[in-house]
Amino acid sequence: MKEDFKKRTVISPEGKPIEIDPLKDYFSDAKPKVYKPGNPVIEKFANWARANSLWVLGFGTGCGAIEMRPLMTPRFDAYRYGIQWRPTPRQASVFVVSGYLSVKTLKRVVRTYEQMQNPKFVIALGSCTINGGMYWDSYNTINRLDQYMPVDVYIAGCMPRPESLLAGFEKLKTIIKEGRGEGANTYAEKFDWYKANQKKIIKDWDMPDYNW
Amino acid sequence: MENLNLEIITLITGIILVLIGIWGLLTQKNLIKIVIGFTLFNTGIHIIMVSIGYVKNRTAPIIDQSVNINDVGNSVVDPVPQALVLTAIVIGLGVTALMLTYVLKMYQKRKSLEINNYNDLKW
């Protein structure tokens, strides 16, 4: 664990020693909540809006990330499908994990995923996220992303071309419109299972269980 | 040289003494010599005083046989400067004595008569 996150004692301005436990004091330790879909009519309308306003947070973990860039170019122009890039997990609704995940990266991916707001969707990109791809027997990468977080769409390929990405986004839209994009709720429901899987891989667990 | 009467001689002597005294005061580095310079200066002043009170062809302001008791005012010199000079001499004596005391004290403390050794206080 990083030194900064260990418990420490500081002296208050009055000269009183204070015990600081950074993980408790500085991070919220609330559990994720399950947000049930509401009124079906409203929900249907909302899903249409969610599907047509995909704000993408791209996590360029591996070489697959290179395939994200062309989407913004005139040739593919993903904007016309309502896909836009958003650099902060707070505002993004689609999380694109692009490529293999080393153990170290997984920790960041989990954290980023948890910081997004419900409902949120995950697109995993490239073979590495499905079965490890060319790193399937690496000591330091994971093989299946959906062991660690609910994935809505896998896009196979090493690497998948932009066209496949667009197809993946279209698939995601369909899923959302059908009301099946409830990954965030799944994550909350099966929170303990996901956490157990994550902790199995991530040995140096130095964060609260859920990163708000 | 006819004009060179007693009055002028004493006056000039006095002024010369004063100047010598000041010269001594300003140039000598030995404390004792400085004191001597002062006494010369003082003596010079006394002589000047006497010379100023002197009136030609008159006698000392002591009333005895040589003075006509009815014409005292015209036969003796002005008595006041004479009286004053006595007082001045006394005072000069006191001052000189005090100066020497100081010199003594200074010598006792620092075993030196060199005035430049007593410049600790300045600025």
Partner: protein
């Protein structure tokens, strides 16, 4: 003031909100076309807002954080409502009887300040950096703007926006941009800064400090901010239209004029790359300032 004013105000807000959203979409479309892209759908801003309101979870960093969007939107709506939107219309004169041009100029800051406070409470350093940049830039273009406003107010001998518009009626030769060109130029350059488009958009630098001050806002809070992003620029456009381009006597004129005025920052923004903050401060305090001083001297 009567209750029907509130109704009229709501009507104005509704029209301007829609106009602002469409304008946003259209302008982005234009930007895309300049870049030879097809671009977003013109109604994409609506979808985005609905999407954000449809988010189910929200986080908050504290009270100020929570009410910051409220400040922001109140600032935008207030700015709009304190101006006469349509010249000569009782209905769309709104609350302009409450204060004059000075009120409008200073009320802009209501939202900026509130937003800055809320964003800062998130404790996110990028928010703070964005605010630092934003405030720095605001101060610098405010000087030419003030000089221009003083020149215009002196020209018409009034601070009353309605009277300023009234004085410009009767053909475009009466518009301030023609009658008082230096003041108008100074104000229009300041307007570039006020719109926050390139080259003055380092405040929101999307990748470097992820979209700047609102970086922590999400869901409904972001939705409120998006509403403001539709109303606030529209209100500013209306202000400049009123001051420099003779105002509008009906909605069609308003839409035409504001659209064309908006093309000015859009054009500049499409052509020029981004300034650093210190560069933009220096720039605003040289060329536009000199133009503003000339405007004042010529009065």
């Amino acid at each position: 003031m009567e209750f029907k004013n509130i109704g009229y105000a709501l009507l104005t807000i509704f029209i301007v909100l829609n106009y602002g959203l469409i304008l946003q979409g259209v302008v982005r479309k234009i930007g895309a076309r300049v870049g030879r892209r097809y671009g977003i759908r013109w109604y994409q801003p609506y979808i985005d807002i609905i999407k954000n309101y449809a988010k189910r979870s929200t986080i908050t960093h504290g009270v100020m954080f929570y009410i910051a969007p409220v400040f922001r939107l109140t600032g935008g709506i207030g700015l709009l409502l304190f101006m006469p939107v349509i010249f000569g219309s009782d209905i769309f004169g709104n609350f302009s009887f409450a204060g004059d041009l000075v009120l409008v100029l200073y009320f802009q800051f209501f939202g900026i300040l509130g937003m800055a406070l809320g964003a800062a409470e998130s404790g996110h350093p990028y928010s703070a950096i964005g605010i630092s940049r934003g405030l720095s830039q605001v101060t610098s273009f405010e000087l030419p703007l003030t000089l221009g406003v003083l020149a215009v107010a002196m020209q018409y001998q009034t601070l009353n926006i309605t009277e300023i518009v009234a004085a410009q009626q009767g053909g475009f030769m009466n518009w301030t941009i023609i009658t008082n060109p230096f003041a108008a130029i100074a104000m229009l350059i300041a307007f570039l800064g006020a719109m926050g488009r390139s080259p003055f958009d380092v405040v929101l630098a999307p990748q470097e400090i992820p979209i700047g001050p609102p970086t922590e806002f999400q869901s409904g809070l972001l939705g409120v901010l998006q509403l403001n992003r539709a109303i606030f620029p529209a209100a500013k456009l209306i202000l400049f239209m009123n001051l420099l381009f003779g105002g509008a006597t009906n909605w069609a004129e308003l839409i035409l004029k504001t659209f064309l005025i908006y093309m000015w920052p859009v054009f500049v923004g499409t052509v020029f790359p981004r300034f650093r903050v210190d560069q933009s401060i220096r720039w605003f305090l040289t060329v536009p300032l000199i133009i503003g001083i000339i405007a004042i001297i010529l009065i």
